[in-house]
């Protein structure tokens, strides 16, 4: 928007409003605010006179304090902010950035760590289970091998146990007669 006499009027009104709120006397009028040295840059000096006392200007510190108190109202009246509407010699206190009670990064960190630890535990447990299964399988194969060894003791297709049972009949022709053998 262009800066014209209406905007100047609004500015005077805002300063008067600020003075009224600050000192809570309702005597400050728009006519008490005087602008001078207005330039194209839109910069100017202004003073606030006190109509109660004889045409003296209100001290700068009071004006500064009043403006500081109502800075945001003045800014929003002009749709500007602290940077675009500058009052020389009035530094604004900056509001601190909002900080949540738990820093956000801790939450994200917690999530990442929990996922990782869960993955590690899962892998370790599955590794142990796999090893147990492998041990069981290898002990199973050991049993099979024993069976194989057992079945290996088959003579000519006849299991040894049955052979033992049959055990052969002692042929009396040969066994009983010791005199048959020649003595050495």
């Amino acid at each position: 928007y262009a800066w014209d006499a209406n905007e100047e009027y609004l500015f005077k009104a805002m300063v008067a409003f600020a003075m009224r709120r600050y000192s809570s006397k309702s005597t400050t009028q728009i006519s008490n605010v005087l602008l001078c040295n207005v330039t194209d840059r839109v910069s100017f000096w202004f003073v606030v006179t006190d109509s109660a006392k004889n045409v003296t200007t209100v001290p700068a510190s009071e004006v500064e304090a009043a403006i500081r108190m109502n800075r945001n109202r003045i800014n929003s009246a002009f749709l500007l902010n602290d940077k675009t509407l500058q009052f020389l010699k009035i530094s604004s206190t900056i509001s601190p950035p909002v900080e949540p009670s738990t820093p956000v990064w801790l939450i994200v960190f917690g999530v990442v760590l929990c996922l990782t630890v869960a993955g590690i535990i899962f892998l370790i447990v599955s590794g142990i289970q796999r090893r147990k299964k492998k041990n069981k399988e290898s002990s199973d194969t050991e049993n099979l091998e024993e069976k194989c060894e057992v079945t290996v003791t088959i003579e000519n297709g006849i299991p040894c146990e049955t052979l033992d049972l049959k055990a052969g009949h002692i042929n009396g022709v040969y066994a009983a007669d010791d005199e048959r053998f020649a003595s050495l």
């Binding site: 330039t39 840059r41 601190p96 950035p97 990064w105 994200v108 590690i120």
Partner: protein, 611 residues
């Protein structure tokens, strides 16, 4: 040479699920943080497009032959670095031990860099980004002084992240937030390497492919940013005169070398899990070419963003000057724009020179902003983070960027850890029944405890030291002994036969010449040049000291003698194993030959065999 393959398959060695997994692991190992933050920087300071010439020459004569050598060796001997080199010749066992040591040292500090990346990643979820605003001082009238003097981004990196001390001798305390992130990083590494290549093989699908996706997204976005074309033109404009400077050739040779992650033993470990009848020649060429193309591909978005940042900085400088002039001369708003700034300045300088001089305007030069080249951690954590703030939806870009850096670093960590893990598995001290999970757990836990030193206040100075001394010089020495060992001790003829058996064709003239003459010679020259350059100037570092007069410039300090001793120790310790082991075996053989009792026993056994 003629051992039957069937018996080898049943030696119980783990193997890759498929060829693609193996290639991806090698590529992931080679493609790391250096491709993103070192190559573009080198391109920029060494004459843009002209740097590609020494880079390609170094690739052809140094990179690819060494890569083929390592992959072929690991594949043929099917052992980790220590076992492989001991099998080539007992006198060369020291080369394997040196490789193993370097892998250990590099793993320690590399994961701490990933810790910083993780810290930035988890802080990227905050709105607004924590490095975009300065914190307030005590009475809330202004910003914190250290932050105000430098920038919010610098403050967040040096104070909020590192909490850096002004000197390498001042240790400071353990930064608890970094300790937490370090624990998380080592937990992630443990999760991925818990069973060796069984688990890394699955993880690599994500960590190796994801960075390419993010780079593409950044490429598309970066090219749409204002100022991107200036950045790219700056990067690629060739300046042929630069080729006369030997420093450029040295940088190209060392960059190719470190970029391909040679001499770490990790590549030997990866290829040892292959089946023997595998075309390692094609693999080597593929990995090297993909690595180089990735470097080039990554430099495009990096420089688009840097161009954008420089342009924005230039515009800010202009705007500040314009405001100053308009205020001083009470000119109407919008009268001076960025375009007619120079005409206005000339006009005002001729009419009111004293007023202009009184304003103390900073000269705004786009070239100057573009020249502010940074590499390494500075690029990622200071320059890029600053650029990200300027983009809309900055949180999303920050998150993407840091996940990409994390994946890049993690896939390289896999190679490092494999280089440590595989030789340990073959060590006779560890019995076959020890579960792999335990060994990898012990490695990760020990590394975590030692790496806690890097989370001290002076940690980042120590990481610089490790990077400069442990991660550079020993690798050159190891690689030199690797090539000469295979070429002259194992003999190239025998090696060529091995390669022919594996790939089905004899290595052609290119391989013969490079393995025998060019690569060893090149490595020797690079090594000598490297050492000469290091010795010439006293080892110094740049310290962040808020009390320094020139703050926010960094203070140049010299390393005290005890730190220098550690630097030399780091560089020499891995290298010393090469002659030590050779000497050990020599002495053993001499003692063995002097001992008469051993001879008759052999004679008896021979007779026993014959009868």
């Amino acid at each position: 040479v003629n051992s039957p393959p069937e018996s080898l398959k049943e030696d119980g060695r783990p193997k890759w699920d498929n060829k693609f997994q193996y290639l991806l692991s090698c590529i992931g190992f080679a493609v790391g943080l250096g491709n993103v933050w070192r190559f573009p920087y080198l391109c920029q300071i060494h004459g843009g497009g002209a740097f590609l010439i020494p880079y390609l020459i170094a690739l052809i004569f140094e990179g690819i032959p060494l890569l083929h050598l390592e992959l072929a060796l690991g594949q043929r001997l099917r052992k980790g670095s220590i076992g492989a080199w001991s099998a080539v010749s007992p006198y060369l066992g020291g080369v394997g031990v040196a490789s193993w040591m370097v892998s250990v040292l590099v793993s320690l500090y590399y994961n701490t860099v990933l810790t910083w990346v993780m810290w930035y990643f988890i802080n990227s979820f905050q709105e607004p980004l924590p490095w975009s605003v300065c914190p307030l001082n005590e009475n809330r009238t202004g910003f914190d002084e250290e932050c105000y003097e430098s920038t919010a981004v610098n403050y967040f990196w040096y104070r909020k992240t590192l909490n850096i001390t002004p000197d390498v001798t001042e240790n400071g305390t353990l930064q608890w937030w970094l300790v937490l992130c370090l624990a998380a990083c080592w937990a992630i590494v443990y999760l991925c390497t818990i069973r060796g290549i069984e688990t890394t093989g699955k993880a690599i699908y994500v960590t190796a492919i994801f960075p390419y996706l993010v780079l593409t997204i950044f490429l598309i976005h970066g090219l749409t940013l204002p100022g991107a074309t200036e950045g790219l033109a700056y990067l690629f404009t060739p300046n042929m005169n630069i080729l006369k400077n030997p420093r450029v050739w040295l940088d190209a040779a060392t960059q190719i070398f470190f970029s391909l992650s040679l001499a770490f033993g990790g590549l030997i470990a990866f290829s040892s899990y292959n089946q023997q009848k595998n075309d390692c020649e094609k693999d080597a060429v593929t990995v090297a070419i993909v690595n180089c193309l990735t470097s080039l591909y990554a430099s495009i978005p990096v420089f688009s963003v840097l161009g954008f940042k420089a342009t924005t900085g230039y515009w800010d400088c202009l705007d500040r000057n314009i405001i100053g002039i308009i205020n001083k001369f009470d000119l109407p708003e919008q009268s001076i724009t960025r375009q007619n700034y120079t005409t206005w300045i000339r006009l005002l300088n001729s009419s009111h020179p004293e007023k202009i001089a009184a304003l103390k305007l900073k000269s705004c030069n786009l070239q100057e902003f573009l020249d502010q080249s940074v590499s390494g951690t500075g690029l990622a954590f200071i320059v890029f983070t600053q650029a990200v703030i300027l983009m809309p939806a900055s949180q999303a870009w920050a998150i993407l960027f840091f996940i990409m850096l994390f994946s890049l670093g993690l896939s390289s960590m896999f190679g490092n850890i494999e280089g440590v893990f595989t030789p340990l598995l073959e060590f006779k001290i560890i019995s076959k029944s020890t579960p792999k999970e335990l060994i990898s757990g012990i490695i990760c836990l020990t590394s975590f405890s030692i790496a806690l030193c890097f989370t001290l206040g002076s940690g980042s100075y120590w990481i610089d030291i490790f990077d400069r001394y442990a991660g550079s010089l020993p690798l050159l020495v190891i690689a030199f002994f690797e090539v000469t060992g295979v070429a002259y001790v194992y003999k190239i003829k025998r090696f060529s036969e091995d390669v022919k058996w594996m790939t089905g064709r004899k290595p052609n003239l290119y391989w013969q010449i490079t393995w025998r003459f060019i690569s060893p010679l090149l490595l020797l020259i690079v090594f000598v040049a490297f050492v000469t350059l290091q010795i010439q100037k006293p080892a110094s570092y740049a310290a962040w000291n808020p009390k320094y007069e020139g703050f926010p410039m960094k203070e140049e300090k010299v390393y005290p003698p005890w730190v220098l001793a550690i630097c030399v120790l780091l560089a020499v310790l891995p290298c010393i194993f090469v002659p030590l082991v050779a000497l050990f075996h020599l002495i053993k053989r001499m003692l063995g030959s002097k001992d008469p009792s051993s001879m008759p026993a052999e004679a008896f056994s021979c007779q026993g065999d014959n009868s």
